[in-house]
Amino acid sequence: MPGASPTPSRTLEELETDTARATAGTTDDLEVERVPGPLPGPLPEPRPEPPGEHRPPADRRRHGLRLPRGLGFSAAVYLATRIPILIAIVVYLRSHPRQQLWSIATLRDGWWYLKLANYGYSDTLRSPATNLSDTAHSYSDWAFFPGYPLLIKATHGVTTLPYLPSTLIAASVTGLLAVWAMYLLGETFGGVRVARGSALLFAAWPGSAALTFPYSEGLFLAATAGSLALLLRRRWIAAGLLGAVATATRPTGLALVAAALVVAVVAIVRERDWRPLVTPILASTGATAFVIFGWVRTGDVMAWRHAENLWGQQLDFSKELVTTFGRMLTTLHATLASPPWRTQLIGTLVMVFGFLGLVAMAVALWRQRHRANLALVAYALVTTFMIIGYSAVAPRPRTVLAVLPGFVWLAAWLPRRTLIIASSLLIAGLGLLAWLWMWAVIP
């Protein structure tokens, strides 16, 4: 029954089945389906049914056996999309016998997060030197937000495992939570079909390899997607609390504050309702706490921003990126002959793929404009600006992953068959990208 609204008198399984049946057809079906963005409140609780011989799902829930809504599907998708990454790791390790899993896990950002979890932040802007290379003492740990290191520390405390496996456990668990949060965001926007499509596209997107390695993406995206879903459901305080986790984890969380602020301003002006203002205020506390901590520790209120300078993160609207790419293309023969440049060319081509992903999301938004939600549009625009504005960030598949609403719009727009084909291709590309990353990054 297309367009049906959930009613409390039906079980959740019936609702999911109906919605999936109604929306699993052609694109024409999509045009008929109308499940608006903001929901007035939480979804209805399923009505318990009499226990039978095969113990129906509702009864299983009463006995504490039932998984939360969408978690089973999200877990299946997450595990399935990890397979190509694991294959890539195994292939890489077999062809590079001197490398170990731990050496892969502590590369790049993973090294910094591990260091922060182990020793905390430096007292100065530049981190203490650990070697005598020319770049020693050139970077800063203040560029990394504390959310993920704190989670590693908590995992280490709870499991009593060493820090290194703790980082991988934290990344994997938050990666799964991110896919699940994406499912809930998609469901809030457009029902079960969109939820499943969003989770699938999100987990299959090449950048989602970061949900397996020790990066902060898992925690950040789980908190952000959860916060956006709660924002759409007008659960202001819960959205703000999850937003605080997001802004304490990555600077991109500021896009969430901007989105919540836009929603609050609209609610104040149109409805004289001041309650939504609690969301941006709460959400900004994560980043604010980090700024104050940095101020107290280093004496510099802008410690984070100055650390970003050391990492070469300057607002240049991708000028440097485009210039470098142009130079590589005009001197293609020389670029291909030089191993470092060849690696950089591959990295840039991967960014082109990320850029195409952004374009596809924009097209999907345009096609879905009749149901565009203000909060999602504002969040996506600010996030995209932060990706394209900084050459050092750039539209890498990993950074494009943060444009969460884009996956929702794509899932709502693409026909089911296209969605499955696209996801299958992306999953195959996921393994290839993971292998390329290890090949390009590991000396």
């Binding site: 100065t124 901007a258 836009v262 300078n309």
Partner: protein
């Protein structure tokens, strides 16, 4: 409110929010004070960026050619007041070494140095110190304090440093 008005209202709000965010991000995009733009090169190889107190620029610049004859590469220098250089270091601009007078500016950047600074002598009654900010700046600081660079500095008005360089211990 009609649908068209609602859409216009939404677009306006989003645009306003974006302008605010853009302004905030633009304001903190680049905040360095002293820029290194004087390039001395002897070919490809080692690269070092050095910020020096304005009053020592000519003397320190005179050490670049002999330094680059020993370690081929490029030295990029910039000059400014001690306070500006300290601010530039604290604001996270990439550099490898600094030459500063003893005093509050040097104390401000002490925590940002790779190793404790070394005295390079007095010029016009002021004691100057050289400090490596990165490992890449160490060869130049060593050259100024213990190498031929010290001789060049003294030929340009510097006195001998009052105490041995701690880097030699």
């Amino acid at each position: 409110m009609t649908r068209r008005t609602a859409t216009t209202w939404r677009v306006s709000v989003v645009s306003l929010a974006l302008v605010v965010v853009l302004a905030l991000l633009g304001a903190c995009g680049r905040d360095s004070t002293v820029r290194a733009n004087r390039v001395t090169s002897s070919g490809e190889g080692h690269q070092a960026t050095v910020l020096v107190d304005q009053r020592t620029l000519s003397a320190v610049s005179a050490t670049f050619p002999p330094y680059l004859s020993r370690l081929p590469g490029v030295v990029t220098a910039g000059a400014g007041s001690a306070a500006d250089i300290a601010t530039t270091v604290k604001h996270g601009q990439r550099m490898d070494a600094v030459v500063l007078p003893a005093g509050p500016a040097l104390d401000r950047v002490r925590g940002e140095l790779f190793l404790p600074p070394s005295p390079i002598g007095r010029l016009g009654g002021t004691e100057y110190w050289a400090g490596a900010v990165t490992a890449g700046g160490l060869p130049f600081v060593t050259f100024l304090t213990a190498g031929r660079g010290a001789t060049v500095l003294q030929a340009h008005g510097f006195t001998k440093p009052p105490v041995p360089s701690p880097m030699l211990h």
